[in-house]
């Protein structure tokens, strides 16, 4: 479960301060799918980054399974992120010089597992994301859809409970977007907690249970 209470995030640049998120209160149950909906600059990506522990809030608390990720020392926060959170970025964020399989194994390297076990996990994740046939292709040679599937495989490889997706369809055509949504449905059925930050209307008609949280100017808007 993810519990967010009175969460604020602002950036200081010189003497000016810009507030990105204002007093966010949100509880996401285990297995729930949440759509953070809002226009560009509304703060949804920042909220996702805060949940992933990629940055720290200015104030407020953020608990993941009772663990305050923003307060944990780096070693524990990193472990929590590695074990429980899989992240899919808008721009895929792949290492272009590595192959698909090599990109997917990145989250598993610090686990001190045997290479054979890592390869097994990678194979499973590639199959799940339907990108096995490109396992040895360099990331730089993939199409947008293939890059997205690689990013999904990488997010799934450590079998996390929480999947965070930042504008997952922003760089995909409709066909690939629908494929991605179908994949998310499968993950939902497997009991994963999914948080999607998007402004894509395709997510308004999901065929599986979900909750839409509109965000405007850094605040959750009551519907």
């Amino acid at each position: 479960m993810i519990r967010i209470q009175h969460l604020n995030k602002s950036y200081t640049q010189g003497e000016s301060q810009s507030t990105i998120l204002k007093d966010i209160n949100l509880t996401i149950a285990k297995g729930e799918t949440i759509i953070l909906k809002g226009v560009s600059g509304s703060g949804k990506t920042t909220l996702l980054s805060l949940i992933a522990g990629l940055e720290k809030p200015t104030s407020g608390s953020l608990l993941i399974d009772q663990e305050p990720i923003h307060k944990l020392p780096d070693l524990f926060a990193s472990k929590l992120r590695a074990d429980k959170i899989g992240m899919i970025f808008q721009h895929f964020n792949l290492m272009e010089h590595l192959s698909v399989a090599e990109n997917v194994m990145i989250p598993l390297i610090p686990r001190r597992w045997h290479l054979k076990k890592i390869n097994q996990q990678v194979t499973q994740a590639l199959q799940k994301a339907n990108i096995s046939h490109k396992a040895n292709t360099l990331a730089s040679r993939l199409s947008g859809g293939e890059k997205q599937r690689t990013a999904i495989a990488r997010a799934l490889v450590s079998a996390p409970e929480i999947i965070l997706c930042d504008e997952p369809t922003a760089n995909l055509d409709k066909e690939n977007s629908l494929r991605l949504i179908a994949m998310l449905k499968t993950l939902h059925q497997e009991g994963k907690t999914i948080v999607i930050a998007t402004h894509d209307p395709l997510f308004e008609q999901l065929s599986f249970p979900h909750r839409i949280i509109p965000i405007e100017n850094g605040e959750i808007v009551d519907v």
Binding site: S49, D74, S78, R81, H97, E102, I106, P110, R112, H114
Partner: protein, 392 residues
């Protein structure tokens, strides 16, 4: 963290980004090569000079008049013999013989066969040949530079010296001195004492200087003072002073060495700055991504440290091996000329292989530590920032 999967990933990183690493590796190898070449030459020269000095007599006395050296009376050797604590008194005859038409000169050294000390060292150098037999009659031993010069002028077996009295003396070449002694013997001609006196214009009762030993080092100062007071025009020099002057001549603090060294260090600092900046420009996103994938700061540092250490060690090994081959196998073409300066004879110096642990540690400290630091510090600074910011 340092398990097989880690090394596998490290290898992938190094191999797949080889274009970026190769540039760093090549620059670093070149730098270590130059640095090690300079230090190898310096260490080798110092070693050769130390070894040469070991065979030198403790003291040398000569006559100076009006500040210039002049012929030393042989009678001074008898006066020395009366002082208690002195041994192995040896008169020496030497001087430069000029070739007017070529404007070049050789150093002629006369050897007294009745005196053991001087020619024992020479015999060792010539692989135990009997020096007396070798130089019986009018014969000479010549350095490699002299040999090349004479051959170029068609004097393959002998040379006719012109004495100051206008008389020609034909001297046969007995042997060439070995290349390992080139630092000192390149332009040297060794011949019997009487022959050297004749060619250099000394009377039979005159020599260039007189050498002797004082076995008790505690007596060096007393005896030195006593001898200095014998004659107002007597100049006395001891081995330590000679060693110091050699040190000054070849020490790495010497001008050219220092200039080369500073240029190298300046280049190195530029490379380090470039490497430092590279972390911010091209590796920042990668570090942020690793952090986002659940890598801790320590794990990111371990990866980057291992990556840099491998490249640094490889460049270090390659550079040192190349430096060794360049200096000790190829005799450091170009660089040796800079070190040894202009000579009246072209010098082909063979460097004695000397690889001291201190030299290797100096190279490692000068090169490896700053190289690793120049990567680890920016990596750490990027790793401790928010992963989101690093990925931007």
């Amino acid at each position: 963290m340092f398990n097989r999967a880690f090394w596998h990933f490290l290898t992938l990183q190094l191999f797949k980004e080889r274009q970026r690493h190769i540039a760093t590796l090549l620059l670093s190898t070149l730098l270590v090569f130059l640095l090690s070449s300079i230090l190898f030459i310096s260490a080798s020269l110092r070693h050769t000079l130390t070894q040469t000095l070991k065979a030198q007599p403790d003291f040398v006395i000569s006559r100076t008049q009006g500040g210039s050296p002049t012929a030393t009376p042989l009678a001074w050797a008898d006066e020395l013999a009366e002082i208690y604590g002195i041994s192995k008194i040896t008169p020496r005859v030497y001087g430069r013989y000029f070739f007017k038409e070529k404007r070049e000169s050789f150093l002629i050294m006369g050897v007294d066969f009745l005196e053991e000390q001087t020619h024992q060292g020479l015999e060792q150098l010539l692989n135990e040949s009997d020096l007396k037999d070798l130089l019986s009659g009018k014969k000479m031993l010549i350095g490699e530079g002299v040999k090349r010069f004479l051959s170029a002028n068609f004097y393959d077996n002998e040379y006719k010296f012109l004495t100051p009295k206008g008389k020609f003396v034909t001297v046969t070449i007995a042997q060439t001195l070995p290349a390992k002694s080139n630092l000192l013997s390149n332009d040297m001609i060794i011949m019997p004492l009487a022959l050297a006196q004749e060619i250099l214009g000394y009377d039979q009762e005159e020599v260039s200087d007189i050498t002797f030993n004082v076995p008790n080092p505690d007596e060096w100062q007393n005896i030195s003072d006593k001898i200095a007071s014998l004659h107002y025009d007597l100049r006395i020099t001891n081995k330590r002073e000679v060693a110091k002057s050699y040190e000054h001549l070849y020490n790495f603090k010497g001008g050219l060495f220092l200039v080369l060294f500073i240029i190298l260090l300046a280049t190195f600092l530029l490379i380090l700055y470039q490497r430092y900046s590279m972390v911010y420009s091209s590796e920042k996103r990668q570090i942020g991504l690793l952090r986002a994938m659940g890598w801790s700061i320590t794990e990111v540092l371990q990866l980057k440290f291992a990556e840099t250490l491998l490249i640094t060690l490889l460049a270090f090994l390659l550079g040192v091996v190349m430096g060794y081959l360049y200096v000790f196998i190829l005799d450091a073409p170009l660089l040796s000329a800079i070190f040894l300066g202009a000579e009246n004879l072209e010098r082909h110096l063979t460097f004695t292989p000397v690889v001291e642990l201190s030299t290797l540690s100096t190279i490692f400290l000068i090169y490896a530590l700053p190289s690793i630091t120049a990567v680890i510090i920016p990596v750490w600074r990027v790793a401790i920032t928010d992963a989101k910011e690093a990925m931007l």
